[in-house]
């Protein structure tokens, strides 16, 4: 049973990230459910999508219980940080940091990455898959081959390859940092 809160603004691919993650969870043999937000609230405003694996009925995460935050917007990250459980992990895009910073902040683990400096040529629309790659380097579940299968299934054929590249880029970047991995409950 793992819960993920995915954050960003309308148009950043928050829902797509959630769909890929949920589909990959299902491919990995667990129940996967997610919540989406549509309509007016999407227009450039904050988009919050919750994903859960395991036998939950509701995809919405109770305050202080999320295992992970995956965020493409630093401002949304700050608004939602209370949704993480103790020792939960926040993986957030930050355009101020050079490449990468990781630290313990209070009761949570905070990982900031700047995809613009890590991979200058990566399409910004693929930042969501880059973040998913970092998650995949930290948590072996769902298995990377199932995430890649989900990307191939959900993205149109002509952009699937570049999104798989972004996923691998994020995954390899974090793994090559040589840091201890497998911090999650899995």
């Amino acid at each position: 049973m793992t819960s993920y809160r995915i954050l960003g603004r309308g148009g950043q691919g928050v829902i797509t990230l959630g769909k890929v993650l949920t589909q990959a969870i299902i491919y990995s043999g667990e129940n996967g459910i997610m919540s989406e937000i549509h309509g007016l609230s999407q227009r450039g405003g904050g988009v919050v999508t919750d994903v859960k694996s395991g036998e939950y009925q509701s995809p919405l995460i109770m305050a202080g219980t999320a295992d992970y935050i995956l965020s493409m917007d630093p401002e949304e990250t700050s608004f939602n940080i209370t949704s993480l459980k103790d020792n939960g992990i926040c993986i957030s895009v930050s355009y101020n940091e050079k490449d990468y910073k990781e630290e313990k902040r209070g009761r949570i683990e905070f990982i900031e990455l700047n995809p613009l400096t890590i991979a200058k040529n990566m399409d910004r629309r693929a930042h969501n898959m880059f973040l998913l790659g970092v998650l995949s380097a930290i948590d072996p579940f769902p298995q990377p081959e199932n995430i890649i299968r989900a990307i191939s299934e959900i993205f149109p054929e002509k952009v699937a390859a570049s999104n798989i590249d972004a996923f691998n880029l994020g995954r390899n970047f974090y793994m090559n940092l040589g840091l201890e991995t497998g911090k999650s409950s899995h």
Partner: protein, 612 residues
């Protein structure tokens, strides 16, 4: 394989579907031959997928001009023997309430289901009315799914129920059911259902004149009595027993999900009565549950709808159990539930001190997209009103993306009530106060219910300037086509209906300006605000979310920029950001509309186009 191909698969597959997609699939599996809607969050995705899927299934699908028309079209299709499906957001049923209520009296031909999607917490709505009240008011059976799988399966049962009793059925969802994505088992697709009905022979039924209606009403209440005891629909409802449970919980819809998760996470044991049919209350199973539980908590979002019925039932039974819920303020009446809120009520029932806290989560408010035609429109109109000394004019606005003009820095919506109200409310104020008013209405809202309002304003000789903000689509709900949009299917050719031709027909003086041409909007506004009487200005420019090729972006020359920040503070485009003492444009975010390069936004002309 493409999503649509999977979606239309006729084999026993499992697909990850949004609640609304599951409803569309359920309609297809049920052999629906006719579907109509007016788009509205949180119901819009049903139409999005049916529009694509309908041509492959033989179903007729249309975006109607408004919900009332959609309902009446679907009712007509039902009378002609087809299974018909009409769907809308919760407030859409306000618009369709008139035909809805009387259609329960007359009954129908082919099965008819109306889906209404409530929006607790008002993510994209002006209110959070509980539409189960409508089902009760109209004596319509209500079916409430809790998740995408049930949404798909229940709609098929709804059609069976509809045909068995010859009445329309309400399928009621909420945002968190419509917008929940989960694995759904697909079933075989049924052929389009055709029933032979000869409507001419049933005038006494389908013509609801008083002499007929007096006979039809008792028949309707009799049907509801029969349904409350009908074992054919038992599978909609179930009791989940728990060993050593101290109390019972009656729940339905999305609240069931919170109850289940909260019981697991809190470790409290309780029996559950899950109602998939919430009007009428199924008598046998409910009475059984009340007999078996001496204390019952009713968990439901919004109004104490079930609770009121259960309490009345309990009174009839002589008070066999004790009911708790919203009426004794254990649960709130407003805004959506969460697992935490439900867990608190469960812990209270179990006599356990709660430590669960629900943190208030803020979010970034929505704003106009880069390239949105509304930004330059409101920026220019605001400037023109100030230049005319008319900044204190009452600005009557409407429902759509342009409602965002309410926020800083535009502050240009003094009144927002309901679809089409900008014109009628503005006219009412103008006539009662003797002052000139300004109304803002979008193109889709104009067609939805602005036309009747503008005819009335003309007849009332209202002193009002109406801006019709035509972004050539129903933008907010997913860029659905409006009646302005020409199309052809086979030999059928529709040329679109121009807003100008409607205004000419009514005799309203009007002009048309380009949404990105600020100078022209300013001049036209200044000229028109001074005239008395009714005048309309159509501001036309395509929604930035419509598919288009980005051919350029704009950039600020830092050495030319004076640092006045008019573009950042007053034009307020998300692509333009403050960078120290100058403004900077994010070339990725910029859509290339160029409205910021005009002298009204950048008086020193420091913003230039860069071709891609």
């Amino acid at each position: 394989m493409s999503f649509l191909k999977n979606f239309l698969s006729d084999s026993d597959e499992v697909m990850l579907l949004l609640g609304n997609e599951a409803i569309a699939r359920g309609a297809i599996e049920a052999g629906v031959g006719f579907a109509a809607t007016y788009p509205g969050t949180p119901s819009s995705e049903v139409g999005e997928i049916l529009m694509k899927a309908a041509p492959h299934t033989g179903m007729y699908f249309q975006y109607s001009i408004n919900e009332k028309v959609a309902y009446e079209m679907a009712y007509g299709a039902s009378l002609s023997g087809k299974r018909s499906f009409v769907f809308m957001k919760h407030v859409g049923l306000n618009v369709a309430a008139d035909p809805f209520v009387t259609s329960l009296y007359t009954g129908i031909g082919g099965g008819m289901v109306v889906m209404t999607a409530d929006d607790p917490s008002m993510f994209s709505s002006q209110n959070e009315q509980d539409n189960r009240r409508y089902g009760d008011l109209a004596h319509a059976p209500i079916i409430e799914p809790s998740n995408p799988q049930e949404a798909k399966d229940f709609i098929k049962m709804a059609f069976e129920l509809s045909e068995k009793y010859s009445i329309p059925i309400m399928l009621r969802t909420t945002t968190r059911v419509s917008h929940m994505r989960a694995p759904v088992h697909l079933r075989k697709i049924q052929n389009i259902v055709e029933k032979n009905t000869d409507i001419k022979k049933e005038r006494s039924r389908y013509s609801s004149i008083p002499s007929n209606a007096r006979k039809l009403k008792p028949q309707l209440t009799h049907k509801i009595d029969l349904i409350s005891h009908d074992p054919d629909f038992d599978s909609l409802n179930r009791i989940e027993k728990s060993e050593g449970s101290a109390f019972g919980i009656i729940t339905s819809g999305v609240s069931y999900n919170y109850v289940k998760d909260a019981l697991v996470d809190s470790g409290v044991q309780a029996n559950i009565l899950k109602l998939g049919m919430t009007n009428p209350i199924p008598i046998e199973i409910t009475q059984k549950f009340m007999n078996e539980n001496s204390r019952i908590l009713v968990v439901e979002e919004l109004d104490p709808y079930l609770e009121t019925k259960i309490r009345a039932f309990n009174d009839n039974l002589g008070g066999i159990t004790k009911i708790t819920g919203k009426l004794d303020r254990i649960l709130p009446w407003s805004l959506e539930f969460s697992e935490g809120i439900v867990m608190n009520s469960i812990l209270k029932m179990a006599g356990i001190q709660s430590t669960v806290k629900e943190a208030e989560v803020r979010g970034i408010p929505p704003e106009f997209c880069p390239g949105c035609p509304h930004r330059s429109s409101f920026f220019s109109i605001k400037r023109a009103l100030r230049m005319s000394g008319a900044s204190d004019t009452i600005l009557s606005s409407d429902i759509g993306c342009y409602s965002l003009s309410y926020y800083d820095p535009y502050d240009m919506a003094d009144i927002i009530l309901d679809m089409g109200a900008s014109i009628s409310v503005g006219a009412g104020i103008s006539i009662a106060s003797g002052k000139k008013t300004v109304a803002f209405i979008g193109d889709s809202t104009f067609f939805h219910s602005g036309i009747t309002a503008i005819i009335n304003a003309k007849r009332s000789n209202a002193n009002m300037l109406i801006f019709i903000l035509d972004n050539t689509t129903t933008a907010m709900t997913g860029q659905e086509p409006t009646p302005e949009f020409p199309f052809s299917i086979g030999d059928e050719q529709f040329n679109g209906i121009g807003i100008e031709s409607i205004l000419s027909g009514i005799g309203v003086d009007h002009s048309t300006v380009d949404a990105f041409d600020e100078g022209n909007i300013i001049r036209e506004t200044i000229r028109s605000i001074k005239q008395s009487g009714l005048k309309a200005i159509i501001i036309r420019g395509p929604c930035a979310l419509l598919p288009h090729q980005k051919i350029s972006y704009f950039e600020v020359s830092p050495d030319q920029c004076s640092g006045c920040m008019n573009c950042v503070d007053n034009f307020h485009c998300p692509a333009i950001i403050r960078d120290g003492n100058v403004a900077r444009i994010d070339p990725y975010e910029c859509d290339g509309c160029g409205a910021c390069s005009e002298i009204y936004v950048c008086p020193v002309k420091a913003i230039h186009e860069v071709k891609l």
